[in-house]
Symmetry: C2
Subunit: 555 residues, 2 copies
């Protein structure tokens, strides 16, 4: 079957079909179009970049994942006086720029950080009650009360336990962290094309799938149909293991499991419960759950334990910024990036005031989506490279809920629900648990299909889509949430996209090139981290840049 | 195979073998003996009571699980003045007694709660730095600093998201909750008999098992060996689903997955990572991981999201106690429970002072392990019932670690590791994340084998066992932890055991009987909840008792 498919489809599509639904036509029903890029972007966001790179391997591309067995030995140890008398201009006070400025400063470099926004952090940003913010389609305001637990992280919201560089700085700076629940058995999966569009609880999807997988495998093993593949000893042990894995009956049948929850409302006193009847296998397979959603919690980048800074993600860049003080010039836009005989010249303006800043080195951390339109003296290969990289178009919606109905009515504490619509996810806050009110993420689209479109719609329509999708999962949603805001990253000034969406073939060309300085100009930022779309990548890219810079100064 | 096994083994053992390892001899290697009871107890603690009840079903016993679809409508709504002029003596200020007193008090009953300890909560207890406590084998002290994040919950540590009665009171009382990570892909599984005794990361056990299960099932499906069992459409979709489930290659092979982590230490700059080589299937199956441990996080009672009160579990009973004030008499031991012409008489003492308390009703929430030795007038059937129920013998060890090595060195934030030894688990705190120091649970034995023994050993030996097991998982453990304490519940005064270990056949006899009052004497407590061993059961048992009592007063 696979071989046959393999002959009639291009390899990327073939892999896609196999991974995301061998019955290609079925899975494609929702796809607005398909390219290897968007497939990889999709996997990158869901399976995490690590999965994308594994997929790249399968496609014959480069393998770029960076694993947790890597021994992170802390930031580069630069000699104390190394930077004496050297000036470095750092473009951008996002996580990459802040990291570079902090570490270079320790080594005695005189750093100036130019930042267009009035705050540090760039994409690492938190919106709180009352905050106003602007994007290409207008000004919005977070119409909810000011309170510590009422915030939205419109960009990064998660830190993995293996993001050791980020976690190392959090420890060094004393940024308090708490657990961010990513994978919650009480949350929902909803597909308009399956189960009559009704949401199904995650525990049921997993419990029943594992039950059926185990039953079928057990049947094949117990009746000798896998005798060629397994030794006798392994067969017996495998049967035992899958009995636990699938929670099977003693005869090997799957007839339901408490793991999937209960259907009966038992009487008090001597209560009897009835384990839910298993969902029909055909319908489970027809739904989009196993596209990737049901395995999301196993992904290297998404698996527990995930963490978040207490009080909002911007606490992380704020901790850097406090240590950098006046080295950061806010509300200062870079207009030109030039090479000079002995170094670099950056032209910028602050309000009406234009400045020219000369320095020995520049570290540029502006997103490529922004950088490509800033007049510069980069070598042609760099200009081409910068122009070529595409950015994902993720968007997030948030709503204020006066009552935490997801907790009080449904027992959902953190985690996320999935929908087949372009709204993609609803995220429940892992903070403020047990409070009366809360802010939830009403949509989070990855910038791959079907979420691709979200940012294109007018603001009101984006909010409406999020309301409609929420209603399909939580009846009464429209009456329970209000104050919707939507951040569409392609429309956010100074970002113009969510993260670099690498094409496999670019890793050996563009990606490799930008890892090298162009003269005295060094590049750093999320797009050069081993993982795009993670703060950890931004931090490590800065470490890499300053290591190269330090090596040159030393030489 | 199953049929053959079935003929040579008694049904309980047969089910056990199938569930816990069909190659019975292998699994039994560690068993010190086996009874249906201990099997059920084991499942009850691991699969949760729900699984035990499902197992009971398979054994032909009663099904007693109480599910999350149950609509919990809050505590019984008793008419405001119902209790006017009625006195109720409540024995024990554990969660059950506190619940009963609080609800009856709202309805106007005059309640007196007699409590042997100097604090409320009973088994729901928190030990903090400096605390001293006594058990049959002596006095211990928690030799670690006083700080909000340095505590041990020697009894209950987890609240499930579907424990709606407990969560309802937490909300009503404003007890702050936070996420308790129960299932952490970064933690370890260690079996002395497999992998040379080396610990294996949970992500590897799950990633690789799912990979192999998927590959084998895919082989059977793709080569037509399950054509009888599946329609053509389902076959194609199933192949797609298991490709995601197992993270398989395009040819259906399992060759490793980023979900299992990485082996290579990549160079900075253009880092390459190497996905870990899959663990050998035979060794994975030989290990005790699939006995139940690898599926622990899917269990109805253990699946995310789990919660804990901020600052320690005793914050929950303390919130009741604050509302009850002087209704609770601490340091007051019940000595006799008598029936009188119009009600009940309880004899107790406080220090040297003996009191006699007459009332209309008694609600007895003492553990049966304690109650059976208190002189009483219960009807013979009740006395027999009370004498018959056995109690589990769980024990917990805690250590103080001046450095949170599990976080800093291994990226473990909360969750638990498993060992094949009687130490069973190591639990990492979900609180105080990122702090310098911490208190971890160095052993938690369920009271079924192999943990059965723990409490039998002298204190020093229990601590030593926990140290040795920790060393096998975390090299250097002995030098990194100190100040060990061990709570062996059979030795804890006023508890004498951890929880009721029901035998299946007792549900229709003893369990049913004790749900009914003996004259004016009502029973409540963990052992009468739909789940033994959960606070939720203790709360609901109290609701049940007061509903019956109210019905009688009304009549
Ligand atoms: C929706 C979304 C979800 C994400 N989720 C996660 C997550 O869960 N976890 C995680 O770790 N990461 C996540 N990320 C990725 C993370 O946000 C980035 O990897 C990281 O913040 C990028 O840092 P940076 O310094 O490279 O870029 P930026 O943060 O973009 O910093 C660039 C800086 O340059 C400034 N700038 C731009 N133009 C100019 C100019 N002309 N002059 C002066 N300054 C200028 C910008 O204002 C900005 O401050 C997410 C990102 C998005 C968008
Ligand atoms: C090791 C362990 C782990 C557990 N884990 C969890 C968990 O993670 N989550 C969860 O929800 N539950 C858990 N439980 C179960 C939970 O602790 C119980 O279900 C619950 O606390 C029992 O409440 P109770 O009121 O029935 O009994 P108790 O708490 O035992 O209350 C009985 C009270 O009676 C008092 N008493 C005894 N004798 C006398 C006397 N002679 N005179 C006067 N008073 C007397 C005792 O001091 C005590 O306060 C665990 C229990 C143990 C032991």
């Amino acid at each position: 079957m696979l071989a046959t498919l393999g002959r009639c489809l291009p390899p990327g599509l073939m892999l896609y079909c196999y991974l995301l639904g061998a019955a290609g036509a079925y899975v494609m029903k929702q796809a607005h179009g398909f390219t290897r890029r968007s497939f990889l972007a999709r996997i990158a966001r869901t399976g995490g970049a690590a999965a994308a790179f594994a997929a790249l391997d399968a496609l014959g591309g480069a393998s770029l994942a960076w694993g947790e067995d890597r021994v992170y030995r802390g930031p580069p140890a630069l000699p104390g006086g190394l930077g004496k008398g050297k000036r470095v201009t750092i473009l951008g006070a996002g996580v990459a720029g802040l990291t570079a400025a902090f570490e270079l400063g320790k080594a005695g470099f005189a750093c100036t950080v130019l930042e267009a926004r009035h705050r540090p952090g760039g994409r690492s940003w938190t919106i709180r009650g009352g905050d106003r913010f602007e994007q290409a389609d207008g000004v919005q305001q977070a119409r909810w009360p000011k309170a510590a637990h009422l915030y939205l992280n419109p960009g990064p919201a998660r830190i993995s336990h293996h993001h050791r560089a980020v976690l190392g700085y959090c420890r060094e700076f004393g940024v308090p962290l708490e657990i961010m629940m990513n994978d919650n058995r009480a949350a929902w999966l909803q597909d308009d094309q399956a189960f009559g569009g009704k949401p199904v609880q995650a525990r049921q999807v997993l419990g029943d799938s594992h039950g059926y997988f185990g039953e079928l495998l057990g049947k094949a093993v117990a009746t000798g149909r896998l005798d060629q593949e397994l030794s006798g000893e392994d067969r017996e042990r495998l049967l035992a293991a899958i009995a636990t894995f699938g929670d099977l009956q003693r005869d090997g049948r799957y007839t339901g499991t408490p793991r999937s929850g209960y259907s009966a409302t038992p009487a008090p006193g001597l209560p009897h419960g009835t384990v839910r009847a298993p969902l029909p296998l055909s319908e489970l397979l027809r739904a989009d759950f196993w596209q990737f959603k049901a395995a999301f919690g196993e992904d290297f980048d998404q698996a527990g334990t995930m963490l978040q800074p207490v009080g909002g993600m911007d606490r992380f860049p704020a901790a850097f910024a406090r240590r950098l003080g006046h080295a950061i010039r806010y509300d200062t836009l870079v207009d030109e990036i030039r090479k000079t005989a002995n170094g670099a010249r950056v032209v910028c303006h602050h309000g009406g005031a234009r400045s020219v800043i000369d320095s020995d080195y520049v570290i540029c951390t502006l997103p490529l989506s922004v950088l490509r339109d800033i007049p510069n003296d980069f070598a042609p290969a760099y200009r081409e490279a910068i122009a070529e990289v595409e950015y994902a178009r993720s968007a997030k919606t948030a709503f204020y809920a006066p009552r935490r109905f997801w907790e009080q009515d449904e027992g959902i504490y953190g985690g996320l629900s999935w929908t087949s619509r372009d709204v993609t996810q609803i995220l429940y806050p892992s903070h403020g648990i047990g409070q009366a009110d809360g802010v939830l993420v009403g949509s989070y689209c990855f910038g791959a299909f079907p979420g691709d479109d979200m940012g294109q719609y007018p603001l009101a329509e984006r909010i409406e889509k999020a309301l409609a999708a929420g209603e399909a999962i939580h009846p009464g949603y429209r009456t329970m949430v209000r104050g919707g805001v939507n951040i569409a990253w392609p429309k956010v000034p100074h970002s113009l996209g969510s993260w670099a969406e690498w094409k496999p073939e670019q890793f050996d060309t563009v990606y490799r090139l930008l890892q090298q300085p162009d003269g005295v100009m060094y590049f750093a930022g999320e797009y050069l981290g081993y993982l795009s779309s993670w703060q950890e990548g931004a931090v490590l890219s800065a470490h890499h840049a300053i290591e190269q810079l330090a090596a040159r100064v030393r030489a």
